[in-house]
Symmetry: D2
Subunit: 338 residues, 4 copies
């Protein structure tokens, strides 16, 4: 499905199930895609940060897109992560994903090296001038060179092929500034937030939707939060946003990203396999504890049974989680990443 319409709603940045050898588990990936669509997400976003695009080879990234586009069969738009080693390779990926039927691509700003705003501009301009497919900018300053407001504005004004931005900073005033700078002259431009813990207020101040890792775990809740917020049922939306913060914090801060999400997707019935980043035995044990905690959270919503042994009222495990979340949030904040 080629999207002519503005990107809106909840896009799932899906993880990739791996088999016991660490290879792409095609059957589970297809089954997972079907389930996400059945649960109502508005689009898919493979090869994003949650999709661990940097841990796959260039060939594997194409293979993931082939499987997903083939399985989706146009039921929902696919926003394809297309960042490669350099501009030439990235443009080639754009062409490939265009052929495969992606609605648009999302391209993260250059990473590893921290580039200046001008170089970030030049990078996206070069791509926009040569891509056959619409491009969504992807700003994730905790991992990649930041895309600042004047750069977004300039690209939006000069490049019709650039049709939106996914911003994972979670910074409300920053989102307001971007919308102020861009929307008057590009009303078609999409603003998507990648920060699940601020989805409701982001929508209320003008965002068009989100690409939220939590929607790969509890698609029902994210879609519901989106609907409640748009319907201005604020009390219900606020309550649900709070619950999503609890779940999101547990998944994002208590394991190496995105292992918390991989673990949670397993609890929804998919054989996600182990991630490609090695873990210490300590870390593996903690992932098991996290799985128990997440199962209790999911059981509260009726998405799973309680784990064997049950979920006693907030006990030491919860305190552990809360303590770890706090420590990690504090550290990230210090780094300017939170």
């Amino acid at each position: 499905m080629r999207s002519q319409a503005k990107l809106r709603g909840i896009y799932t940045p899906n993880i990739v199930p791996l088999d016991s050898r660490g290879e792409i588990h095609e059957r589970e990936l297809r089954r997972y895609v079907d389930w996400l669509i059945a649960k109502g997400v508005h689009g898919l976003y493979p090869n994003g940060s949650t999709g661990e695009f940097t841990r796959f080879t260039a060939e594997e990234r194409v293979r993931i897109m082939e499987i997903i586009c083939d399985q989706v069969q146009g039921r929902v738009p696919v926003l394809a992560g297309a960042a490669e080693a350099n501009v030439k390779e990235t443009i080639r990926a754009c062409e490939t994903y265009y052929e495969l039927g992606a609605a648009a691509v999302a391209i993260v700003a250059p990473y590893y090296y921290k580039l200046s705003p001008r170089a970030v501009y030049a990078y996206f301009k070069e791509i926009a001038d040569h891509t056959p497919i619409d491009v969504t900018l992807y700003n994730i300053p905790m991992f990649a060179s930041p895309i600042d407001v004047p750069t977004v504005q300039r690209l939006a004004e000069e490049c019709p092929k650039i049709i939106g931005i996914k911003d994972s900073s979670g910074d409300l005033p920053h989102m307001i500034r971007m919308i102020q700078a861009v929307r008057p002259r590009r009303p078609d431009f999409s603003f998507l937030t990648g920060w699940d813990a601020a989805l409701m207020p982001m929508l209320l101040i003008g965002c068009d939707g989100g690409t939220n890792a939590s929607s790969g775990v509890v698609p029902e809740l994210l879609v519901k939060l989106y609907d409640l917020t748009l319907a201005e049922r604020l009390d219900e939306a606020r309550e649900l946003q709070y619950e999503i913060v609890t779940l999101f914090d547990a998944m994002i801060y208590t394991a190496e990203f995105p292992d918390g999400f991989r673990t949670a997707v397993r609890l929804r019935g998919f054989d996600t396999g182990a991630g490609r980043q090695p873990l210490t035995p300590d870390q593996q044990a903690e992932l098991s504890k996290l799985a128990h905690k997440l199962q209790c959270l999911l059981a509260q919503h009726g998405f799973t049974d309680e784990p064997a042994g049950g979920c006693a009222a907030a006990g030491p495990a919860d305190d552990d989680i809360a303590r770890i979340v706090n420590a990690v949030v504090a550290e990230l904040k210090q780094r300017g990443l939170g």
Copy 2:
């Protein structure tokens, strides 16, 4: 007026007018207080960061409070900034401000040294155990040791004298986490945001009000934004929030803090004088340019006349402002301060 009720609404962290010798300009301060109350702010907050408490002597801080409490005469509650050199002096200030009739004090976490969460806890616990007056915690991680969520929770649970927190981080998920941790057991606890650029979404996710420097310049607009948001008139609120972001950015990012606010208050008709921090001739010239720009912004709302020469459509001056705002925001973000 001794506040028994929960702190709510818009508190103005007022600047202090200075005379030509750099001394407290009592007459203008009294006139300014009357004006703020007439414009509808719900409370005053002297000796905060906008009030430059660190640039006055201990004796001057008391004098500022005396003038304000005498002038307010109980018409609105006064939240008194009470941080002093050490715990003993701070408790003494609490006693003084209690005698003067403050509703509560606000105490910033220890600054200069960056203290650990445990030391921040011990500092507030010692004060809370010995103060005659209610205490609001003041979290401003860009200037002082951060007060993290578990510390807020522990203090809220152990110290009935601690009745709220003013948080200037502008971080929505952080506010949600604090409210989740504290409100169930302390429904009386107040959550105030000090970040004007996020006031509307902060109120929508559960904050009780704000201590916003912009309310010292455009009290009408901040009170209106508060009212519109509580009335769930979301489209009008959003539009107003956007305008406040533009104004706030111009005041906070284009001059040394809080000179932008001091300059803007002058445009509302008060002889605010020059700040105590010396400026280079360059900086003084830029303040004049900023005054012109602010006058145009205020004139759009009918709060002032246009400056001599008028406000042509966004010209080089605007671009300058936008460029500077962006540079400063980017830098602060990098420091984890934005």
Copy 3:
């Protein structure tokens, strides 16, 4: 003693002993001053960061200087910390310390608010134009507004009253850049490092000395390191520098600053009392553990007896210390403070 000569050698930023009521313990302070001079330090530096100038009142800061100048009686130069609430108060402190016989003052850049380089320049320029006493800039970016290289250069060129800089960043290339920018036109300008863990390499690349908190604990070792380095006895100097890193890390990273130094001075035989910043019971217990560890380190150098129970080979306590040091160093590094 009025210093006409360039500041050189090891200056001790002394802590202030407090009595059981938390007041300045004059007798111990005098005894401590005599001891430091007897051990060979080249100067004293009261009311610095180690001296907790922000935790004393303005009157107490003057009293500390009176006691020290009276006790020193010109035997060594006194570099007086003179930062006050604003420029006017700071200039008044300069006058007072001039009268008391200080060799020079050291003034930290404005703190709490983070000022731009131009405002930092304007602040020091204003002071330099009105002070009767020579001024040393004090750059400590982890606590105060940074003083960047062009600002140091400009102040050095325009202000003969500014005669040096104390830099606590620990950043070698930064020190090289400052020396390159200033020394050609101001060969009299002093460069002192406040970062004990880099004293030897700092001296080797051109520094004139240090104001090192460790010299308040082990003045013998810091003076010895200074002498060995100037004599180019590099192998001995390197070995001693390593030992000082171990001691410094234990004092600076395992307690709230400067409690580790306060604790260590007590082990050298002074009744230093408890600091003014409240601590939790946990933190007090950790300080006791730290005292044991420090006593072992000092005993290795023959400065104290071993603690009761002895110092078994590196056991759990040591691991604790190492773990804490590492965690704190990592966190500070993330904040750009390390």
Copy 4:
């Protein structure tokens, strides 16, 4: 040449000349390798950060190594950058580079995602357990997950295949702490600094050498600084270190990394081509100005002629450079990157 000996001396992290189509310029790369060896560098280090390993495809990285190993023919050891998308691919690269005759590989900590110390440990442990070739850790916290001291210590103790660390933090006390933690039990372990501006003091406190981008431009100077320092000719070494800071700052801070180095290598007579990261016309013009400045600096050492028009005494161009350097250094410092 398979290195059995400890890594020592100056390794050049070489850039890769590109032809007019942006492809590897094999002939120039071979000529450049010969020149570097002739100028006396002790080893080569392809596919490092200066070598822009992330901007080449996996196939190109292998091709670069093939060319270099073939051209070197064992004259100096080759330390091969071997980081790939995941552990499995990285181990495969280790095997390939072993076959090609590399002395060792250097592997940067995982980047993009910011991993915890335990995950960094697990990553290197997994590689060390399966690599046929010796491994040097590569710590570059400004670009990748940091490798902290306990992690280095643990890996050094558990993994005989890990034989050294390249650290680009430029942090002297950090280097001291690593050497203290590792050298007693692994006297064979190499410590190399990647921070050219601190090479002399790093060597003086115990480093074994450096992998310095400047050595790709002025190999003569870096080798001379290494020799002077080891010979303890401190005054000459200091003077040379200062000159290298000036040159290094100009190359690293006034263009997108590593374009300043690419530009400077061209001035030594190699057709380096344009980098793969697109630049704006502004940035290209600035690179031309930088080339003029660098030519003047190189001409001072007799490495090139002066540019057409000559090098007048420090003019506006120099001030520009100094201003930009300062701005960038300040910004990086704020990010904790400097």
